[in-house]
Every structure is written in structure tokens, then in C-alpha cells.
Symmetry: C2
Subunit: 613 residues, 2 copies
């Protein structure tokens, strides 16, 4: 792939009316980024703070150098704990990049960092720190981040307590609350000691709902430049983590470029690379090759591994009568291996060794649902729930080894079967965070599966899922391009935010209210700037009313200048100086209305302001 030699360019610069600001913590150099959206002076409102996943790429004060990677902010914190050591690390082998010839080998990332690992007998994981009562810099960082910079004395705005289905979201997130949730296993902080570039974030049902975006090149297309650009593009629009699902050639080098430039945690499915190392022949996989791949990726800094250790030999027959069989790649790789050898999965057999490796780097588990349903017909079946039970057992084993754990979920599920997934996972997996793909609520709309799944994602997020894995419009059909990645990320930001609102997260509603006030007051620019996609909002508005004058027009193209419902509502408010606008005593109201109506006519019943044109 010659184009992988081309210089890598990514999208930088702030979003409209936005500024990346930093809130200092109390611990060693903790400095938490947020996005501040400035409103028009006429709003007479403070700027709106929103969660910012975009990293230094949106900060004009930071120089961006893809060849050097982003700042290694966590390195001093990690080293100061004195429980890790530098070591030479594993040699990069030809098979790590698919044994490609020089001509096809993607350029290596220029800067080399020797990896860190736990000192023998140590477990440098956020879970172990939390259990020991230690509040790490990562935990304080996360507390500040989840509060969007709000101090404990600052009101949470007009909070709606929502319905949390057992979630317990406090009005204010303290570092101690973060620690206690991690210690309880209800939340994870994906933070490999070899990915110090990552800005700490948390995945748990008592925090903001997070989203993941999948990227990665495939055997049939794309390059390193494209994938790094996709990563930066995905986090610009709000991806909280990204998964590198690269297959084919140059997997190792592609991943290095991505991790060194990623300010968000990076996840992978190590079995994909292991399979490439054995030429794509699943039955040739061995524990040794897989183990070597885990170490290779842990040294590079992957923050969480999807491990399909729940796909056990006895469960495979349960999929035989399914409409769509096994649709998880990892799941089917392991199913094929089990079939070919008629042996129990080596991931299951060697699970404790996997835990030891992951604990030494603080790589979090994402226990893969290899038997997830791939169609409405297969939802919530025996195979799926048999595996879930095993994932619950493995969760406890991983916790025993000090590893952080989240659990993956479906998939394709009709609406009436979604809640059962959440409830069964909470019970089977002892409260470990749930990480679901969608679910898609119908199979009949290929080309729109960001929407079929966005519906299910919003619902399961409300029910308690901690992170939602996005689905792009290309799902089932092809590889997502840049536009598909953005469409998928925005759709999932909508689902996650709708869930935060319904759960009653204290910081969620403020943005809706600020945007609605802007809408009501015809502050078009503010409405655009407060939206998830300011560029599209402005573009759509301008398609019908392009003139600059229309940016201050007290009407929109739906009603036109002749009549606007928002305008009259403002009139009602201006005139209606009513004591009792809460519905009590209709009589007083009507008295008030009497004056109002006179006053109203006197003022000439003007209901809108004409614009220049």
C-alpha cells in the first residue's frame, strides 16, 4: 500500500465558537480539558461547558506533530507509583505486519519508547489502587471531567432526576466516588501503562454514557494515513474510545501510529492479529501465538482487549439452528478452532494466564460476546445466555487477578427484548459495566443501521449500558469512510445523550436547555454552535435561507416571515405578566389576560420583526 508512505494529515482546529479550556486538579499536574461554547452577548448566559474527547487536535495553542504523537500526560503519574519497570520489550517480528515485503511494509512510527511492565509481584491497575483506597491522578481527572468543570457549590442547573433503573448518579462526582465505583467493579478506567497519551475517562453506569468508534484497515482497503485521520475525525465528533479492528497486513505498524496519536483509550481484538499470524487458518492458532500477540499489543499500549473466552465448545451446538449462526468474527474463529480440534477454547483454558499478562500492563478486559445474535430471530437465545453466564464467571476470575472488566453485549434485539439483556447482564456479571453493539431493533434496513441500532442503543443506555459501540450506515454492506464514521459517531452521541437525560445525569439537561433557549430567542448562531454538528446545522439552515440577515431573523423557513409560533410565544411571555403561570386559579389568570389583551392590541399586535430583505 504505497499511499501509506504519504504524509499523514488530520483535521485540526476548534469547532465553531468553541475553545478548549483546562481545569486544574489538586494532584500532580492534573489538568482536565473541556470544550467551552461561547454564546452571543444578547443571551446574557455564561458559556456552555461540554465534554471534550478531541484531544490537542482542537487546541490552536498546541503544536500537532503526527510523527511525534500527542503528549504523554500520564507518564509522570505512572512512574511516580514505583510499581513498574522499563524493559527492552519484545522484538517486532515480520509476522506482526503480515510478513510483507519492504515495498508493502508501512512506515514505522519514528519515535521508539521502551515499554513498561509491572515489577514482579505488583499489579499497577486502577482496580488494585482503588481497592487499596488510593485516589489516583486518573480518578481525580475523571471526577473533574464528569462534572464538566462544575464545582460542588455550583448548581447542576435544572436537574431532572429521570429514571435510573437502579443507577445511582450523585449530584456531584467526587474523586472518592470514582475510586469507590472502580473498587466495586462497577466502572473501569481503561489506561494501559504504555498508553500515557490517553486522557483518563471512565466507563460505568453511574457516569456519563460513553461511545466507541471502530476503525482499522482491512484486507480489502485503506491505509495508515486514512486510519489515523479517521481516529482524529472520530474523536473530534465525540468518540470516547476507538477500537482498531485492522486485519490483513501492517497491523502492528498501523496500530503504533494510532496509539501514539490517540488521546482516547484504544481497544483491539487480539485474535484478529493472531489469526493473520497463522495465515488465516483458525485451526492453526495456538495459545503460544495468542499469548505472544497479547504481549505485543500490551507493550504498544492497547487499553482494552476483547477476549472471546466465553465461546465454549459445548455452546457451539446451540447455534446450529440459528437463522444467522455466529456473527462475531472472534466468536467464529474460536468456534472453528474448537470444532477442528474438538477441544475446549484455549482462551477459556488459559484465562488465568491471560489475566496475569493484562494485570501487568493494566489492560482492561472487554469480555467478548462471541455468540451474540446476528438477527432479530436469534435474540436472547440459549447460546447467547449460556455464554453470558460464563462471562460472569470469568469476570470474577479477572477481578481476583486485579484486572478491570467490562462485558460486551448484542447485537440484534427487538425492543421488547432489550431490557432483559441489561437485567441478565447486571445479575450474571455482578455489576461489571456493559458494553453493547447497538442493538439493532430490526434487520430490514441495511444502509440505515446507524438508525436501527441508535434506537436500541439509546434504550439500553438508559437501562444501564455504560458504553455504546457505534454502528455506521455501512454496517453489513461495506467499510465505513470518513463520512460514515462521523454519521455513526453523531448518531451514537445522540443515543448516549438521550440516555443521560433519561437517567437524570445532573449535567445532561443543561445543554438541551441552552439550545432550546437559543432556538426560542432566534439566536441562530448559538443554536448551530450548541448542536452536536454545528457545520450541518448551519448548512441545512442556509440551504433555505442563505442570507446573513436570516441569522438574526425572527422566523425560519418552516413558517416564513408571515407567521412564526415561537415569535408569538415570546409575545405571550412579554405581555403575560401573570402571577400564576403555574396553573392555579384560572380566574386570576383570566384577569391578567384581560389587561394583556388590551395592552396587546395597543401595541399593534406586532408579532414579528421583519428582516432587511
Amino acid at each position: 500500500m504505497p499511499d501509506s508512505q504519504a504524509p499523514i494529515t488530520v483535521t485540526t482546529g476548534p469547532l465553531p465558537a468553541s475553545r478548549r479550556v483546562y481545569v486544574d486538579g489538586t494532584l500532580n499536574g492534573v489538568r482536565v480539558p473541556m470544550r467551552e461554547i461561547t454564546l452571543h452577548p444578547t443571551a446574557k448566559e455564561p458559556p456552555v461547558m461540554v465534554y471534550d474527547t478531541s484531544g490537542p487536535f482542537t487546541d490552536p495553542d498546541q503544536s500537532i506533530d503526527i510523527e511525534a504523537g500527542v503528549p504523554r500526560i500520564r507518564e509522570p503519574w505512572i512512574r511516580a507509583r514505583k510499581d513498574v519497570e522499563d524493559y527492552p520489550g519484545r522484538e517486532v517480528k515480520p509476522e506482526d505486519n503480515g510478513n510483507v515485503s519492504e515495498r508493502h511494509l508501512a512506515r514505522e512510527f519514528p519515535e521508539k519508547h521502551s515499554p513498561l511492565r509491572a515489577l514482579s509481584g505488583k499489579r499497577p491497575t486502577q482496580l488494585e489502587y482503588a481497592r487499596a483506597g488510593i485516589i489516583t491522578e486518573e480518578m481525580e481527572y475523571i471526577a473533574i471531567r464528569e462534572n464538566l468543570g462544575r464545582s460542588e457549590t455550583m448548581p447542576a442547573g435544572d436537574r431532572d432526576n429521570g429514571e435510573g433503573f437502579g443507577a445511582h448518579i450523585p449530584d456531584f462526582i467526587t474523586p472518592e466516588f470514582v475510586r469507590s465505583e472502580v473498587a466495586a467493579g462497577r466502572a473501569i478506567i481503561p489506561a494501559n501503562i504504555n498508553h500515557p497519551e490517553a486522557e483518563p475517562m471512565i466507563i460505568g453506569r453511574n457516569f456519563l454514557v460513553k461511545i466507541n468508534a471502530n476503525i482499522g484497515n482491512s484486507a480489502v482497503s485503506s491505509s495508515i494515513a486514512e486510519e489515523v485521520d479517521k481516529m482524529v475525525w472520530a474523536i473530534r465528533w465525540g468518540a470516547d474510545t476507538i477500537m482498531d479492528l485492522s486485519t490483513g497486513r501492517n497491523i502492528h505498524n498501523t496500530r503504533e501510529w494510532i496509539i501514539r496519536n490517540s488521546p482516547v483509550p484504544v481497544g483491539t481484538v487480539p485474535i484478529y492479529q493472531a489469526l493473520e499470524k497463522v495465515g488465516g487458518v483458525a485451526e492453526d492458532l495456538t495459545w503460544e501465538i495468542f499469548r505472544d500477540t497479547l504481549i505485543e499489543q500490551a507493550e504498544q499500549g492497547v487499553d482494552y482487549f476483547t477476549i472471546h473466552a466465553g465461546v465454549r465448545l459445548p455452546y457451539i451446538p446451540l447455534t446450529a439452528k440459528r437463522v444467522t449462526g455466529i456473527v462475531s468474527r472472534g466468536g467464529s474463529i474460536m468456534a472453528k478452532w474448537c470444532l477442528a480440534h474438538h477441544k475446549e477454547s484455549f482462551l477459556y483454558e488459559h484465562f488465568e494466564e491471560i489475566c496475569e499478562i493484562m494485570a501487568a500492563y493494566d489492560v482492561s478486559f472487554s469480555l467478548g460476546d462471541g455468540l451474540r445474535p446476528g438477527s432479530i430471530a436469534d435474540a436472547n437465545d440459549a447460546a447467547q445466555f449460556a455464554e453470558l453466564k460464563t462471562l460472569g464467571e470469568l469476570t470474577e476470575v479477572a477481578w481476583k487477578h486485579g484486572c478491570q472488566v467490562m462485558v460486551e453485549g448484542p447485537g440484534h434485539v427487538p425492543m421488547h427484548k432489550i431490557k432483559e439483556n441489561m437485567d441478565k447482564q447486571l445479575e450474571a456479571c455482578h455489576g461489571a459495566p456493559f458494553y453493547t453493539l447497538g442493538p439493532l431493533t430490526t434487520d430490514i434496513a441495511p444502509g440505515y443501521d446507524h438508525i436501527t441500532s441508535g434506537i436500541g442503543a439509546a434504550m439500553i443506555g438508559w437501562f444501564g449500558t455504560a458504553m455504546l459501540c457505534y454502528v455506521t450506515p455501512k454496517e453489513h454492506l461495506g467499510l465505513p469512510n470518513r463520512n460514515d464514521v462521523k454519521e455513526g459517531v453523531i448518531t451514537y452521541k445522540i443515543a448516549a445523550h438521550a440516555a443521560d437525560l433519561a437517567k437524570g445525569h445532573p449535567t445532561a439537561k443543561a445543554r438541551d436547555d441552552a439550545l432550546s433557549r437559543a432556538r426560542f430567542e432566534f439566536r441562530w448562531e448559538d443554536q448551530f454552535n450548541l448542536s452536536l454538528d454545528p457545520e450541518r446545522a448551519r448548512e441545512f439552515h442556509d440551504q433555505t435561507l442563505p442570507k446573513e440577515a436570516h441569522k438574526t431573523a425572527h422566523f425560519c423557513s418552516m413558517c416564513g416571515p408571515k407567521f412564526c409560533s415561537m415569535a408569538i410565544s415570546q409575545e405571550i411571555r412579554d405581555f403575560a405578566k401573570l402571577q400564576n403561570d403555574n396553573g392555579e386559579s384560572i380566574e386570576d389568570a383570566q384577569a391578567g389576560m384581560q389587561e394583556m389583551s388590551a395592552e396587546f392590541k395597543k401595541k399593534g399586535s406586532e408579532i414579528y420583526l421583519e428582516t432587511k430583505d
Copy 2:
């Protein structure tokens, strides 16, 4: 608007692999259209029948002449009942088209039909027939249509009973069931006696969930040609009804072209045109002008009127402290009128006369929610529920007059407040069908409000809403163009179908299963053809794998030829001749696996078929 003089062209012809077929009924000329999707011979499956709203435009055997309109299929049924009379009808007045000069006057629809109205003392409404125990042609038509041509002896396929929240959907819809639901007021058949072109359809929670698409030109843009094209385009993709929300000039002539060519029921908001007749000055509205407008539109054949009679003077103060006040145009027009005159709404005061007019033409009520919330902050507030209570009272009044009634709902509602809307409506409105706009589940994504609202629409449809009014990506920003209309319709077909699946509608799951089987068996063409948007599905697939060979490839671009999870699942199925694939007796399963594994290796562990390239 000179372009309104241009010849009107619309999109015609069948969708891929589809044929418009007809199922004959037993009553006078009942012939029900459906869309038959043919599958590839290798599927060894019968064609899949789907609900067809597209009218004659997708039937190559029918000649399309926009100048003549579509066939008047219901005319003989209506006349045979002997309860209506021809009469000259109201003269078209200059103000009906906004007093535009000849130059700006849109061309009149060529063919004139003198209107019908009830003989004095008669009420030719489907509700009155149903109450009298009469099964009309419309009712038989609907029964056949809702069963998708399935006969009572034919199995409903693998039905999942779902969760209906009190809905009672039988395995098979009989004409008598249709009659009883209409008689009970739980369903309506919008069918103006002056719109005989409409193919009968039903709106009720015990039937398939329907969707509406809004079209109509506005003061700031568009023409008759565009609006007729949008109508045909909207029904091509599945709109069950359309609403003509035209404002500005040429409203009368635009509507005539739309109705004469519309095979689906047409709804309007008469107050919009009445307002134009008084130059946009709400306080100049009078009962006489409104009444005259109702007759004008009833004679043209509008099938349902949105009437905002629930916006009562005493409720207006309840909106004064809202974040977004009154966002319904009809609601704010009436609020302004009430304020200016300090009088109770003339719609409320004259409601019984409105009922008499609508009963004489069988125009159905869509009781407008003029005080619906326009933001998350205003959801489920006192103003909204005060109006809902009044809508319930008006429902009973309209029923007393033999009128069919549905009730409109919000709007903007966070997920945890959606079900309360459905429950309160069912109680307050005595089971009359609910017709909601979305609801949008967050305010922060202008440009993506088809998605923010698609989430709420799927949920409220599941909870019992009978018809979902679409929202396009342009909501809040501009006027939908052709692409926006399609995006909105497809999104709402997804929401409605997801709701049908969750409610356990007997015909819903068959299409998902057929598509999933096609996906699993790599019948790409079938997967495209069974999808809601075959064109986009194919286009997205071809962006990554354009070659024709790939249409039969046993892999897709996500995994590439090297490894495909679907392929191995098929292997597992082929090899796994297991007695007990239902999960019992793991031992037998493992025994089976033993043979399987040997057999598997013998066959060379081939897991995919290479394609030519």
C-alpha cells in the same frame, strides 16, 4: 411562481425485484394492492409480500396521467350506499389562492368533479357504518391489506408475541375485527367521500403502525410540481398518509393537484389557509372564515383535519414560563386570537358545528396538540396535560356526532417521560388512536432530528401510538427537499416496523427473517431487494466491492475473503448434524462434535469460496 406552469413529472416504476400484485376481496370490486418481492431461485423461498403505499405509480400496467389524477376506486362504493348527493359546491374564491394575480396563479387541475355531501339527516362516516354493524368495502380492503394477503389458514410465520402494553392484535385480521375496532373508536379509516382516489387504510393500535409525511409549499419556496413529486416520492418509500401544510399563495390549487393524484389519505391544518385569507393577522380570524375554509377543503376531499380546539384561553398562561412557549403553529394562531379578543377559542365554542360539517363528508378529526412541548424542558407539563384532558372531552363530542377521531401528541420528550404520554392519552381520550410527532428525545442535534425523534417514535409506537408523523433532517432548520423527505420516511418506516416487531404484529417478523436468511446465505441481491431502501443498500455495498462477482461472494468487505464469520457458521450448521441443538445434554452434543471435527478436517476445513478476482 412560473415554474408551477411547467409539466409535472414524478418517479414511477417498480422497486427492484418487486411487482405490484392485487388480492381480490368478496365485496363490490375490492382489489387490494401489495408489493411482492421475488427472491433468488437458490433461496427456495416464496416471494415476500410487503405493505404497499405507492399507488399506481409503481405499476407498469397502469398509465399515469398527473393531469387526470389516479383512479377513483371508491366512487362506486360510496354512491352505492345512497346516503350522499351531488351538488354544485362552493365557488372557488380569489382568497382561496391568496388573491394572486393571473401571472402568479398556479394552473388549476384540469378535471372538475362536483362534490358529494351527506343527504340531510345522513352521516356517511365509517364510524356510523361500523356502529350499524355494516362491513364496508373499505373495511374488507383493510383486513386483506393488514394481513398482507395471507389467508386465515396460512401460518403467520414464526410469530413472536412481543409485549403489547394492552394492545390486542389477533393472529388474523378479519373484516369484522376492522369493523369492531372502528365502532369502538380505537381505529379510524380516513376516507373523505370526495377523495375516492384513496386506497383504504386504517389507523389504530391493534393494526400495523402507520407513518405520515408532511409536504406542502411555503411562503418562501417551492411549487405545485415539486409538491406533487414529493407526495409521489414519499408514498414510494412508504408514507401511509401525507399532510399538505402549504402556506402562502396557491394553497387551493396546490391541494387539488395533490389530492387528485394521491392514493393515500391527505390531511391538512385548515387554520393555516384561514389565516392566509385574513392576511396573516390572527386576530382577524372569524368563525365564518374558518367554517368556509372547512367546507372548501372538505369538498376537495381532505381526509383528516387537524383542529386545535383544545387550546383554551385559560391554558395559555400555563405556557408563559416555558422554555419554548407554544411551538405549534395552529396552537399559537389560536393563542394569539384568544389573547387579542380575550375570548374562548372559536374552535372550542363552535366545536359541534365543526363536527356536523366533518360528518357530512366523513372527514376525520386529528385533534391538534397546540400546546405540545417544544423542548425537553417543557415535556409533560401542566399546559400539555390540561389540553389533553380537553381533547378527551372533545373526542366524546365528535363521537356523538358520528365523526372519526385521532388525537395528536408531542413533540419533544425525554425517554423516561414517553410512556406517561401514551398512558395519559389512552385514559383521557378513551382509546382513540394517538398520532405523535416523534417525539424528539433530545434537543441538541439539529440536522439529525429524524434520528433524535426516530428513537422516541419507535418507543411510543411500541407503547401504542397508531401513527407516527415523520421528522426530517431539516426540522428546525429549513424546508425538506426530496432527499430529506426520503430520509424522513425511511427513518419512520424503521421506527414503525421496530414497534410492530416489539408489539408482536403477526406479519412483522417475516421480513426480518427473510432478509436475515438472505444475509446468512450471501444472497446479496435478496438482501438489497428486501431492504427498505434497495438502492442505498446496493450503492453502499458497491462502494467497497463494486464487481458483479462480489454479488455472489461468500464474504463481505468487513472481513474480506480471508475470513468470514457467516461462512463458518454455515459450516457449523452443515457439519453439525446434532440431535440436540436446543442445549440439552451437552454430552451428546460433544459426541456429535467429535464426528464433526473429524469430518471437518477431512473436508479440508474449507470455510469460504474464493471469487474470481
